[in-house]
Symmetry: C2
């Protein structure tokens, strides 16, 4: 059986325990792994390393690069063991996040499409060890990834040593779903020959120099699917607004009747919004995104979505089982690519992707905060949202109008951190409605966002800020600078942004 998974015979002799494999990792190294969302990441060697460091007390500080977020057996295990010195480019792990915000892990969150090429450009120094989860090794030593591709092709290309985690829990039927293309670097780069989401332009495996594979670890640990997102009336309302908006764009001739390739951010809200397309009357849809979530499989099963291109699957347990047990049915409908290609500006702009991402907060001028809570603590990171938002045909951000039981308004005078600028953001959707910002000057954008998207509890306060700012001075982007972040300051003091917290008498108290 193993010879069907490891088809390059010399590597059969490289099968070792996770502990043995982990001996290749030493203090000060840069380790790069597979994984994009909690899918397709190595699950044994990182844990073995963490256990060893705990046992021996040896000094161990690593730079860890991944595709994007990964599962707890990697990010959590290493963070809890205090092994991670630097972390790129994205994370969603509780312990990693805590360590970052405590200053213990140095984290720079990066556009996901940038990472692979910047590794090749040498911006991150050498990659000492790559750990890649695989479903098979081909006759020539090529690595067949599992449930995500991420940055693995470039990590494999650049790493001095490679450790393969061959995961027998991942069905070998995943082979054939991947399309691995690595662009040449400037000045030799050529056009990426992809003109439709269904195009295959590379190989179904990662071309690998098998001499670099130092160890193969056999595992059977499943991915860590997110919980099944419960139904959510607010998200359904937002999905309804979005569908209505898209229908209108088709009606006035700004979108074809089968829309254009869809991109959707990761998470429960994004998943719910996509689910809204199930009974929207659209047909012959395509997706060019970074992940394939539950609702995408539903859309495929319903015959509405013809093809989905991404870098990873991100299914809940229930849907994952459905997917893994019917791989033949999905093999020509789901394509997994390197994130450098799934998130590539060249292709996103060429295809005319409709980008739908979620925001933490949005200001009245349309600037979006996707990463920071109250300007300081990072939540996850920018991920791929910037790759898509900047280059899309239409850039849409969704957010609930309020958070924390209504004590936070997601529409504020000035966001406390900017990840997507006013220049990039075309449409804002909350459960209150849709603000189409195209062609509007900042003051008009402010009025439209307040009236269409802000929660009624906060509309008067926002309008009051805008009107006083207009009277105070310049009228292009009116602001009262010593109040602009006052709403966040009020929340820090009184745990609410509600009017009482912003009353001048209390404010100076």
């Amino acid at each position: 059986m193993l010879t069907q998974r490891i088809r390059y015979a010399p590597l059969l002799d490289k099968v070792v325990t996770a502990d043995e494999a982990a001996t290749h990792i030493r203090d000060g190294m840069t380790v790069a792994t597979s994984g994009f969302t909690p899918f397709g990441y190595p699950k044994r060697v990182p844990q073995a390393l963490a256990d060893r460091v705990r046992r021996t007390g040896e000094p161990m500080k690593l730079t860890l690069l991944t595709g994007a977020s990964v599962g707890d057996q990697l990010d959590g295990a290493l963070a809890r063991a205090g092994i991670v010195d630097r972390r790129f480019p994205y994370q969603t792990n509780d312990d990693t996040r805590k360590s970052i915000n405590q200053g213990a892990i140095k984290y720079q969150d990066l556009h996901l499409s940038h990472v692979a090429q910047e590794v090749r450009y040498g911006f991150f120094g050498d990659i000492d060890v790559a750990i890649i989860e695989a479903v098979a090794i081909t006759e020539d030593g090529g690595i067949v990834p599992s449930t995500s591709v991420g940055n693995s092709p470039t990590f494999v290309q650049k790493a001095k040593k490679i450790i393969v985690e061959l995961n027998l829990n991942q069905p070998s039927g995943l082979e054939g779903m991947h399309d691995v293309y690595i662009p040449a670097d400037p000045p030799a780069r050529q056009p990426i020959p992809l003109v439709h989401p269904s195009d295959r332009i590379g190989t179904p495996f990662i071309p690998t120099d098998p001499e670099k594979i130092q160890a193969v670890v056999i595992t059977d640990i499943p991915d860590a699917p997110p919980a099944d997102a419960p139904g959510d009336a607010v998200a359904d309302t937002m999905a309804g607004h979005l569908v209505e908006f898209l229908r209108h764009e088709v009606k006035v001739g700004r979108l074809p009747s089968n829309l254009l390739p869809l991109q959707s951010g990761v998470g429960a809200l994004a998943n719910a919004v996509l689910r809204g397309l199930l009974d929207a009357g659209f047909d012959d849809l395509t997706m060019y995104s970074e992940v394939v979530q539950d609702s995408v499989l539903d859309l495929i099963d319903a015959g509405i979505l013809k093809v989905a291109s991404a870098s990873s699957i991100t299914f809940s347990g229930r849907v994952l089982t459905r997917f893994l047990s019917q791989l033949d049915k999905y093999r020509d409908k789901i394509i997994l690519r390197p994130q450098e290609i799934s998130n590539n500006p060249e292709i996103i702009r060429r295809l005319g992707v409709i980008a739908m991402n979620t925001a933490i907060e949005v200001d009245i001028y349309g600037n979006v905060n996707s990463t920071h809570v109250l300007g300081t603590n990072v939540m996850n990171g920018i991920g791929g949202s910037g790759d898509f938002a900047r280059n899309a045909y239409l850039t849409i951000f969704t957010t609930r109008s309020i958070a924390k039981d209504g004590n936070i308004t997601s529409i504020v005078p000035m966001v406390s951190h900017v990840d997507h600028t006013e220049h990039d953001v075309k449409v804002i959707v909350t459960e209150q409605g849709v603000a189409d910002l195209r062609g509007l000057c900042p003051r008009e954008r402010a009025r439209r966002i307040i009236s269409c998207c802000a929660h009624p509890d906060y509309r008067d306060m926002l309008s009051d800020y805008l009107e006083r700012a207009e009277k105070a001075g310049g009228k292009h982007t009116p602001h009262i600078l010593d109040e602009a972040l006052g709403w966040h300051c009020a929340f820090l003091k009184w745990k609410t942004m509600k009017p009482m917290a912003l009353q001048p008498s209390r404010k100076t108290g």
Copy 2:
């Protein structure tokens, strides 16, 4: 003579006065013109329209689209006549800026590469009239642009009516310098077949339906070249830092010895920085930028720069004369393209452009403000800086460390407006030095920017802010939100950001 300029004979009968041509323009219309920097813009018809409106007192409110900034005979004349209701996508005109900041003109500044496709997508509604400056009309009615291309190809394609300003002051020898390529729109768009800055992929004229040309106005008004920028020791110092940085990148193997295609923003500082390459020892350079400034012609004349691709020339009077009198010498070394191509993300990323743009202010975490003074009044606009900064091989921003006689520090705790986020900015250069931000977490970026780039007068204050913010709470991006914009507030009150203005006793006064 005129038959050599107007080679499509039926159009000889369309030659009219500027006043007659301007009768095509009526209240409520969207007018789109040629022009990118004060080069290649229509100079007679806008003035005739402004004069008529002043004379008749007729109601007249227009939406005005251009390539980028244009000369005063267009932007200034229409702004002063109160004719402009909306203005896209960029401006640098004193009277237009004043009207925007007074709330009289509604201005949305847009990424320059986005405009043409969004016009075709229908995001700006119909284009009623296009006014295009030309040096000739071909045998088939094609328009040969003058000293810029801008958005003219798409404006010509989409406009209901076209007015040509045939400018006899512009040498007919400009013909052959342009390369006009209009991508198809999604889902039919194909890879843009440009792999080197010298590639020609289109036609040397704008394909035009001559039936749409309603009027040809003969003019002889020269472009409005900017003043010859005087020598500037501070800019020379910055250029020195930049050259040293680039040399280091070559030395460590992160850039080839002839670098990669250069992009440089518009203006005196950008021009001075490029001039620094004259005696830097580099050779065989190329440029893929949006404008060709004085120093570029110097680099070409010195044999250092092989080819410069842009959307416009922007020479001072002295250099313009040199250029226009030796067009044959420059015809194979300078290529003028639609800004949709000169600034295209696909090509910028493929070629690996080194992007060098100027900032108004930069914060300690590397966020860049390129557009707003004190968060509210717009200076010019984002222009093409975002197109390049986001997609470049290396993204560099330059700024003087202080402004207004030292009363403003360009390095602040938090910028008052974000145009380029921390995720995009790799290197900051001031006359104090270079901060290479690659691979650094926010706190490390802050320390490096303060120590390498901030003016010594402000370093202690910035370090003090950072240290207190670190103690106050979250350690990923430490901020004290009620102080973060306090430096700008201090300037608004006391016209200085210097320490005394930020003393707590005075601050609460």
